[in-house]
């Protein structure tokens, strides 16, 4: 009975491994991008499509590149490009000799991982940071005050 169970497991697992790429199994075809800003409630546009106000997260296909624009009144807009880079899990197909995986991973986009790039170098002084948490990309932007705006007052919190 136990042997039958093992055979059944192999019969299920083997075709799965055979017809899926290494990177597709490990990474999936989508990656989550989380965007936060200081101050929050800045509007986030990905490829000029409004996706919401910070903090916001969005699951994006790995086989495309994305222009990210973050806008908030009174602050300089922040722009970055999320580009696709080679996902090392794709090499797993060579190690296990999976020809099908070599074809499947580019189709699903799993052979790539999304990585942000700095477009506007001077904005890095504002304290922009991004890091990758496991599979996700976390983009944290410290918005710079627009020098074109003049400070006319300051609200003070009441005791």
């Amino acid at each position: 009975m136990k042997q039958m169970k093992n055979i059944f497991k192999v019969l299920i697992t083997f075709p799965m491994l055979l017809f899926m790429g290494c990177a597709t199994i490990i990474s999936g075809s989508r990656q989550t991008i989380k965007v936060a800003s200081i101050p929050s409630s800045a509007t986030v546009y990905i490829n000029e499509v409004e996706v919401g106000k910070t903090p916001v997260e969005r699951s994006l296909k790995r086989n495309q590149e994305y222009q990210v624009l973050i806008k908030l009144d009174g602050y300089q807009p922040y722009e970055t490009l999320i580009s696709k880079e080679f996902n090392a899990w794709y090499l797993g197909n060579i190690l296990i000799g999976g020809i099908i995986g070599l074809i499947i991973d580019p189709i699903t986009g799993a052979m790539y991982k999304l990585t942000p790039e700095e477009l506007t170098a001077n904005l890095t002084h504002g304290g922009t940071a991004f890091r990758t948490e496991k599979k996700d990309v976390y983009l944290m932007v410290n918005m710079d005050i627009d020098p074109g705006w003049e400070k006319v007052g300051q609200l003070i919190k009441m005791k």
Binding site: I46, N47, E48, V49, V51, R58, L60, K61, N63, Q64, L69, F86, Y90, N93, I94, G97, I99, L102, I103, D105, P106, I107, G109, M111
Partner: protein, 130 residues
């Protein structure tokens, strides 16, 4: 075994290099480059062109054979970038082939135009994220 490794490397090289669609362009009348702030109207096949437009050129998106990034939204994002680069603020789809048995890609013929009016008032395709 050696031959097998060679085949794997060839497939990987093809996968790494040829995943974009093939783009051909014929720009007969390029205009001044537009900034990112300036809107570009993306008109699908059923959307009508306004009057008083200047033709800037044509674009054609085909399947390179190994294209994977070729959804309609992805191609239209590229169209918008190409339009801005050549000073066009209207991109009109004149022929659209949807994915079928022969290709998993959208194949498009686009005409680029310069319009002097406000393009945001035109009936147009609204891009979404895939």
């Amino acid at each position: 075994m050696k031959q097998m490794t060679q085949i794997l490397f060839v497939i990987m090289a093809v996968g790494l290099t040829n995943c974009g669609p093939k783009i051909s362009s014929n720009l007969i009348n390029p205009q001044l480059k537009l900034s990112v702030e300036e809107k570009v109207a993306l008109l699908d096949v059923h959307h009508e062109l306004p009057n008083n437009i200047i033709k800037v050129g044509d674009l054609r998106f085909q399947d390179s054979g190994f294209s994977t990034d070729c959804s309609f939204n992805s191609l239209m994002t590229r169209v918008r970038n190409e339009a801005r680069k050549n000073g066009a603020n209207i991109a009109k789809v004149i022929d659209k082939k949807t994915p079928d048995l022969w290709s998993s890609c959208y194949r498009l013929k686009i005409e680029l135009y310069k319009y002097v009016g406000d393009v945001s008032t035109l009936s147009q395709y609204k891009l979404t994220l895939d």
